[in-house]
């Protein structure tokens, strides 16, 4: 393969942006098409997308891409004309082809075209282009998608063979040795390799990985209206600045009296603060993107998993237009994938089991996002068999995570919390899909990183719901400002449980560790003055304040000199050089222009251990 030789970088960028967008949409549309195969608009849209991709890539000379896109287009064209009927097998092949297109596009994006095996996929497309394909497909469909006994005419022999291959891979069974008359020159191992990343090993992964590679996070699309609003605000800001220059000039020439100046300046300050806070809101809104960006890759994942697991699943997505900060959107993808995989694998039952339990054969998975105050709530709800607390408990005892007595004393909620322990799994054997006990740990870590909470609701036999509560943005947080011997620090309010004023003489010492008896718990204390090496100034006061913070399951008290107040602060990074100071999460700029450091309670608890 030649290296990318594209003279016009701009042209290439344009191509990549457009193709990426088309491909993202394509996945959605294809899944939708499978459900409503007679939607001609949808069909035409899909056809146009792939046609555009083909056209653009042939213009730029990406031959491999053209070849794959062209064959896919041909198959789609036949579907469009009604010469073929949409069925899961065709969709599998088309989806595989789009995956390949994605892969090729991401190669181009990375700037290095690699030699990719495209023949396998193309050869799977070919049978559908033969005249008899329609007929044999119909026959195949009739005989419940088994390789159909089509009369062995010279052309038709190819069809069942390749159909068999497709099905074999779809069921993630090692493909049988292809029947010898195969005009389809796909050696079995190659097919296996080819489809391997798409198959059982980790179905969501390739789709996910590729999706991430493709979706460009360095550029933002902003609604023109928002941009206009922003421009208006900036216009006002310019006016206020001119006003300020004017006031300053007047003052310099001292042709104003003090009272006038005070009044003018007071007004100006108010308007300025109004305009700037508006501006702040506008810019924040621009950083917001709909959660759809993450949600839209799930129908594809659910589809491939349900086929792999042999379960019927209907995915309902609610509130995909809910907006949240891009920093949050980027982080929730992985936890959601794990939760969906869990719901599909552990939660939902196979059609037979469901029917036996008196449910509909097809399970429902609801993915919903909604705003609630300053938070966004994402829930993944299934109507499967729920969490078996007994089984979870037994497994935990078996693994030595808890004792029998502990388990009997546990509330349902505490039992659910066991699920998040690293290495915990109710599965006896790790399968390709689950059982290693990593998933929930990932979920918890990621959610914690986002300052979010996770809650589990589950009723045995009826279903489970995982509820994630996330902050709208990571850029601005509510914080409690505290003073430590003259220095101001900021503690994220989300981790503050309470603040108390206590007499230092009430502190106790246990093994050198200062503790405080707070109601019925013994609270370990950390003196910020000590761990931050702040020079004490002035007389030591007997009274001090203790900020009780909760980090994960641990609670501790931070001893400070004084509480300053609650404030919304914008988080600023300390840069690479000071990135990893223990106990410090970042910094912020206070109203007077000074920098205050933000304390990281989670890291703080680790520092002290």
């Amino acid at each position: 393969m030649p290296p990318i030789d594209c003279e016009d970088q701009e042209l290439l960028d344009g191509f990549l942006a457009e193709t990426t967008e088309l491909l993202e949409k394509l996945d959605d549309d294809l899944i939708a098409l499978e459900k409503s195969s007679d939607d001609t608009d949808l069909m035409n849209r899909i056809f146009r997308s792939i046609h555009t991709i083909k056209g653009a890539s042939s213009f730029l000379g990406f031959d491999l891409l053209v070849k794959v896109a062209h064959k896919t287009e041909d198959v789609l064209n036949r579907l469009r004309k009604g010469e073929l009927v949409v069925n899961p097998d065709i969709m599998d092949v088309i989806l595989e082809a789009t995956d390949l297109v994605k892969l090729l596009v991401s190669d181009i994006k990375a700037g290095e075209i690699q030699e990719r095996e495209t023949e396998g996929t193309i050869n799977k497309l070919l049978p559908y282009l033969l005249d008899t394909a329609g007929a044999s497909q119909a026959a195949a469909a009739a005989s419940t998608a088994a390789p159909s006994p089509v009369p062995p005419s010279s052309v038709a022999t190819e069809t069942p063979a390749s159909t068999a291959a497709v099905e074999a891979t779809a069921d993630s069974v090692p493909p049988p040795t292809p029947p010898t008359p195969a005009a389809v020159p796909v050696p079995a191992p190659k097919t296996a390799i080819d489809t391997a990343p798409k198959k059982a090993p980790a179905p969501p992964k390739p789709a996910d990985g590729k999706g991430d590679d493709l979706s460009d996070n360095s550029t933002v699309r902003v609604d023109v209206k928002r941009l206009d609003d922003l421009m208006n605000q900036v216009g006002e800001l310019v006016l206020e600045r001119n006003r300020m220059i004017q006031i300053n000039q007047d003052l310099q020439q001292s042709d104003v009296n003090r009272a006038d100046f005070n009044e003018e300046f007071g007004k100006l300050t108010k308007r300025m603060s109004f305009v700037t806070s508006e501006l702040q809101m506008q810019v924040l809104k621009m950083r917001m993107i709909p959660v759809e960006k993450v949600f839209k890759k799930f129908p594809r994942i659910v589809r491939s998993m349900s086929r792999d697991l042999g379960k019927e699943v209907e995915l309902q997505i609610v509130g995909e237009e809910t907006e949240l900060d891009r920093s949050v959107v980027d982080e929730i993808g992985d936890p959601l994938i794990h939760l969906i995989r869990n719901a599909m694998d552990h939660g939902l039952e196979t059609p037979e089991v469901r029917l036996a339990a008196g449910k509909t054969s097809s399970g429902t998975l609801i993915l919903a996002a909604v705003h609630e105050g300053n938070q966004i709530i994402i829930s993944i709800k299934d109507d499967g068999n729920g969490i078996d607390t007994d089984r979870v408990g037994r497994k935990a005892i078996e693994k030595g995570l808890i004792t029998e007595e502990q388990f009997t004393a546990m509330s349902q909620r505490e039992v659910f919390d066991l699920l998040f322990l690293p290495g915990f799994s109710t599965k006896d054997k790790a399968t390709d899909l689950s059982g290693r006990g990593v998933g929930m740990d990932v979920v918890k870590t990621n959610i914690k990183k986002l300052n979010g909470l996770i809650e589990i609701k589950s009723t045995k036999g009826v279903g489970s719901e995982f509820i994630l509560r996330l902050p709208l943005t990571l850029a601005i947080i509510q914080s409690l400002l505290v003073e430590v011997e003259g220095e101001i620090y900021s503690i994220p309010l989300s981790s503050v449980l309470e603040t108390i004023r206590v007499d230092q003489r009430q502190f106790h010492l246990i093994g050198g560790q200062e503790v405080l008896k707070l109601r019925d718990i013994v609270l370990p204390l950390i003196r910020l003055q000590k761990i931050f090496n702040v020079q004490p100034r002035g007389e030591a006061d007997d009274f001090c304040y203790v900020v009780v913070v909760g980090a994960a399951e641990k609670r501790m008290g931070l001893v400070v000199t004084r509480l300053v107040g609650q404030q919304e602060v914008a988080i600023k990074s300390l840069g690479n050089y000071l990135a990893n100071i223990p106990g410090i999460a970042g910094s912020t700029i206070l109203g007077d222009g000074r920098v205050a450091l933000i304390i990281d309670p989670v890291a703080m608890s680790e520092v002290c251990e």
Partner: protein, 164 residues
């Protein structure tokens, strides 16, 4: 732009003109490449950052950006002095990140030709790391030490900084 920078080598075989910002520290005069200097500011309020090496003075707010500040005197092991009216922070671009350095005074921007740069004499006493001295400029009435501040933090220190 880069062309003007590259020839700062101890060999001093180049004749291109190099612009340097010269500054004072203790009794000595130093110079750094003008293109690395973003701005020179007076001392603002510095917020101390705990558990950092002693020469990290803290961080400042530079028009909404938080910039770490290094005290050059402490870094070079010189006697500390009170900040006065002449004290300045040179905000430098260090591999794409801003960092401020406290110096006694900033004097001027000078032009020298590459050939004037001599290798630094071996065995320079004192606390200045050999590595960050790119050379010395010996002019009739002055001696200028040419610094390469990007080399100021040895690899160990960078790790210490980030890996603490």
């Amino acid at each position: 732009m880069q062309n003007a920078l590259v020839p700062i080598k101890a060999e001093g075989t180049h004749d291109e003109l190099i612009q340097l910002v010269s500054f004072n520290l203790d009794e000595e005069e130093y110079g750094v490449d003008v293109l690395k200097v973003r701005e020179i500011i007076r001392m603002p309020i510095v917020t101390r950052v705990p558990n950092t090496p002693h020469y990290v003075e803290g961080v400042i707010n530079l028009r909404g950006k938080v910039v770490p500040i290094i005290c050059m005197r402490k870094k070079f092991g010189l006697i500390e002095s009170e900040n006065d009216k002449q004290t300045r922070i040179m905000v430098m671009d260090m591999d794409g990140e801003l960092m401020g350095f406290i110096v006694d005074a900033v004097s001027e921007v000078i032009r020298i030709s590459g050939s004037e740069i001599q290798p630094s004499p071996a065995m320079v006493a004192g606390g200045i790391d050999q590595e960050c001295i790119a050379g010395v400029i010996n002019q009739a009435d002055r001696l200028l030490v040419l610094l390469n501040l990007e080399k100021m933090f040895s690899r160990d220190e960078k790790n210490l900084f980030t890996g603490m």
